[in-house]
């Protein structure tokens, strides 16, 4: 039986996010702890212009619909663990 996907992590694939560290975020899949492995799906998303329309800092990630700035693998995992 496969568990339901609870968390959709969407990584901005825009050039700015990529250069500012987003390039490494797809490795999230390899770093997920056991309890989250089957619950998280990692995808790319086309640049939504958060970099120009907000004062927030890249790289950007959407976890379900929640926006995270200055995302790192550790921060994403921490966020999801807190939701669990």
């Amino acid at each position: 039986m496969t568990e339901e996907i609870k968390y959709k992590v969407k990584i901005c694939t825009g050039t700015l996010c990529h250069v500012m560290g987003g390039a490494e975020l797809p490795a999230l899949e390899d770093h997920l702890p056991e309890n989250l492995k089957s619950k998280v799906i990692v995808k790319g998303m086309v640049c939504e212009n958060y970099c120009n329309e907000t004062d927030l800092k890249p790289p950007f990630v959407l976890i379900n619909e929640e926006l995270m700035q200055e995302a790192s693998i550790e921060k994403i995992i921490q966020f999801i663990q807190n939701c669990e």
Partner: protein, 475 residues
């Protein structure tokens, strides 16, 4: 393992801001404001205070303008003035890296220390096994006498409570050839007679205090001239963007490059000539030849393993061939090598056909400044890709494989994947003839150029992205 950290982010943020200002021609008015904008007064400081942070940023910008920090004669020189000096500059220098002394935290000399985990046990194996008798007990706690300690690390191995810790100096620790060391104030300096330009110190410093001297000012000057700009892209570019190769090349063209030439096309020539050279050497009774494509390696041999010098292939590097092709096709053009490598910047200084060098990081910053989304580029491109064997020069083992495919099974290769203290010892043994192999491939970065210091994607991920793009090129 991930590679992003705040020192890397700061460098990239500075690069992006500079490129934007150069692109929009606002740099004259804005350059002196960058440190203030990035570290505003109400912000928390990283160092002692916001003023220190700003000074650090100023000198990092000075390096990005292409200056050696040591060259400063008057501390009051503004970035605005440095910008003008950079624009008037006629010549680059082969000292491609510089230590930003303001940023260097003069980390205490690497040493062993006793932490408060010490239980003052009866066995005291740390003291008993210390060959210099440098450990004594004060109030039941071990203490290391640093006058006598020779940093052998025996105490750390012996302590059953893991109470001994080693605190390294990261840049010195990462340097495979002891080319970086402290002055009386504890500030690090690069000894260019020893340095092989591998860039490992740059990646290791937690303060981002070691910087490459960028050519971006020169490149923007060239953009403004009548001349054509030609991009010479290292094959590892295919691992940098998680986008297809044609999209990446189209993005570079869209910025205003007249053409993109694959350095892998030059690698085809290297493969041809290096294979011939190897056969000739073996026929004339030589037992061994090593590669010559990695410039950090050839610098290592020149400066530290002279016994190996005559074994190094004399075949020019792929960059040299590619530069020649570019100047033949576009005689008056400005040629810019784009790659992940600090050593290539040094090599390029001596190669007439290469005018400037851009790192992948700098390429990324330029794309951002030009508002180019690689993802949205056209998938169609009119290009004949270099052969797959030549593309794989980017990966450790790739050069051997290419030469073997051409020369046949009489090649018995040994692959040195990464220059470090251990592999240097191994190379010194090889220089004495202690090897079964007749072909030695050496790459300074672990994983080859795919692990290059200035890569946007590194490690396993870089290999995956590269492999996928190579499959697409072949099909």
């Amino acid at each position: 393992m991930t590679h992003s950290n705040n020192a890397t982010r700061t460098r990239r943020e500075l690069l992006i801001q500079l490129c934007k200002m150069l692109k929009e021609d606002t740099i004259e008015e804005q350059i002196d404001r960058i440190p203030l904008n990035m570290r505003p007064k109400d912000n928390q400081s990283i160092r002692c205070c916001v003023h220190k942070d700003r000074a650090v940023l100023k000198y990092k910008i000075m390096a990005l303008l292409g200056f050696n920090i040591d060259d400063e004669t008057d501390e009051l020189t503004s970035l605005h003035e440095y910008l003008h000096l950079a624009k008037e500059r006629k010549k680059l220098t082969p000292k491609v890296m510089t230590v930003v002394d303001e940023a260097c935290s003069s980390c205490q000399q690497g040493s062993y220390n006793v932490s408060n985990m010490c239980q003052g046990c009866e066995a005291r194996p740390c003291a008993v096994n210390c060959p210099k008798d440098a450990i004594h007990f004060v109030k039941g706690q071990a203490e290391i006498d640093h006058e006598n300690c020779v940093n052998c690390g025996k105490c750390l191995q012996e302590c059953p409570f893991h109470a001994i810790i080693y605190r390294p100096v990261p840049c010195e620790e990462s340097c495979p050839v002891k080319a970086i060391s402290k002055d009386e104030q504890g500030i690090e300096h690069i000894d260019y007679d020893k340095c092989i330009f591998c860039g490992k110190c740059m990646a290791a410093c937690p303060y981002g205090a070691i910087m490459e001297k960028s050519h971006i000012v020169e490149i923007f000057q060239a953009w403004k001239s009548e001349k054509k700009l030609i991009a010479l892209v290292a094959p590892s570019i295919a691992a940098q963007f998680r986008q297809s190769v044609p999209k990446i090349y189209n993005a570079i063209k869209k910025m205003g490059f007249s053409d993109v030439i694959e350095v892998a096309e030059g690698a085809e020539m290297t493969i041809k000539h290096e294979t011939e050279e190897w056969s000739e050497r073996m026929h004339s009774g030589c037992q061994l030849m090593t590669t010559s494509c990695c410039h950090a390696y050839t610098e290592l041999v020149k400066k530290h393993i002279s016994d190996l010098e005559e074994k190094v292939s004399e075949t020019p590097t792929p960059m040299v061939y590619a530069g020649k092709m570019a100047k033949e096709r576009y005689p008056n053009a400005v040629t810019i090598f784009i790659g992940p490598c600090t050593a290539k910047r040094h090599e390029a200084f001596f190669v007439e056909d290469i005018d400037y060098v851009l790192s992948f990081e700098e390429l990324g910053a330029l794309l951002v400044a030009n508002n180019i989304e690689v993802e949205k580029m056209d998938e169609e491109i009119n290009i004949k890709y270099a052969k797959i064997d030549a593309q794989f020069f980017a990966e450790s083992g790739g050069v051997s494989k290419a030469i073997k495919n051409k020369a046949g099974n009489s090649i018995n290769e040994e692959i040195i994947n990464g220059i470090n203290k251990a592999s240097i010892r191994q190379l010194k043994q090889i220089a004495k003839g202690k090897t079964e192999s007749n072909f030695i491939e050496v790459m300074s970065c672990e994983g080859g150029c795919l692990g290059g210091v200035n890569s946007l994607i590194k490690g396993k991920q870089a290999i995956n992205v590269f492999q996928k793009n190579m499959n697409d090129i072949v099909s």
